[in-house]
Symmetry: C2
Subunit: 168 residues, 2 copies
């Protein structure tokens, strides 16, 4: 959904001013049509909120298990680390469509910036996904130093998004 909109906006901005006017109507109609599937994934806004919180909790838990090894709190086990990283990477692409329009109210720490600056939010989510793939590649090598580096970069991408888009 966000990807669809970004492509449309890029296409839109490539046209001249007279063309933009009529295109803006088409764009609005297509955007509305595209918005449907994402919203339709959840029957109610609170379902979307519950789901995205749940998926981020699961991501955080398994990322934390890798962190415990990276920080030496539990002994490093390459297989266990890789299993946890795989799950983080598998989950990383999913939470974002649950930040659909109309899900900004209720039991959520989501900031209005998510919808006001949706391009930046998408960038932050993409960055996180990209870092989890690098972490997955590092975990496959079984090299703790490589995992530490990729873990740090992934953690930084979590923090950057939370700092900007999540209430304290």
């Amino acid at each position: 959904m966000l990807i669809g909109l970004s492509i449309l906006k890029a296409a839109f901005n490539s046209f001249g001013d007279p063309m933009k006017k009529s295109l803006s109507l088409i764009l609005a109609a297509v955007a509305a049509a595209l918005a449907l599937p994402a919203a339709a994934q959840f029957a109610k806004p609170e379902d979307a909120i519950k789901y995205r919180k749940a998926s981020l909790t699961v991501i955080g838990t398994h990322f934390g298990r890798v962190g415990a090894m990276v920080n030496g709190r539990v002994p490093f086990d390459a297989k266990v680390a890789a299993e946890n990283v795989d799950l983080v990477a598998d989950l990383a692409k999913w939470p974002w469509t649950a930040f659909a329009e109309g899900t900004d109210k209720g039991e959520t720490r989501a900031k209005p910036e998510i919808w006001k600056e949706s391009g930046k939010f998408k960038e932050a989510a993409d960055k996180f996904q990209a870092e989890t793939l690098k972490l997955q590649a590092a975990a496959k090598t079984g090299n703790l130093d490589a995992i530490k580096t990729a873990f740090g970069a992934t953690g930084a991408s979590c923090k950057a998004c939370h700092d900007t888009f999540r209430k304290d």
Copy 2:
């Protein structure tokens, strides 16, 4: 952890009465040692409860998306179905260690039977995991009828566990 205890109990029951007495002390000590890793995954019981609820919410959401196709509520898309099923199968093995000893109180619908009949609970969890693997195999074929059959069996394994081990 549950697996470890089951093996120990099976070994224990294979001995005669005089042997059982001294073995019971060893068993208790080993069980305590084995209990550590599972409990140590979570700093507090409420973290374990939050995690297992979150992971089951995510499983339920993605299983539900497959269900929407199976029931004809949304058009069948083999790729999307397989992606959702993959995530369900990836997640299926994780929630169970979060049902550790001492996590029976608080904001949970977990019934005491989970700990009283831990063997049966493990069987139910194993059954669910096995069904998700069959569903994954079915989803890989892209055949909707095969997916429907495996979806039904997986759903039945969810229900069986919920009926026995979850409060209404």
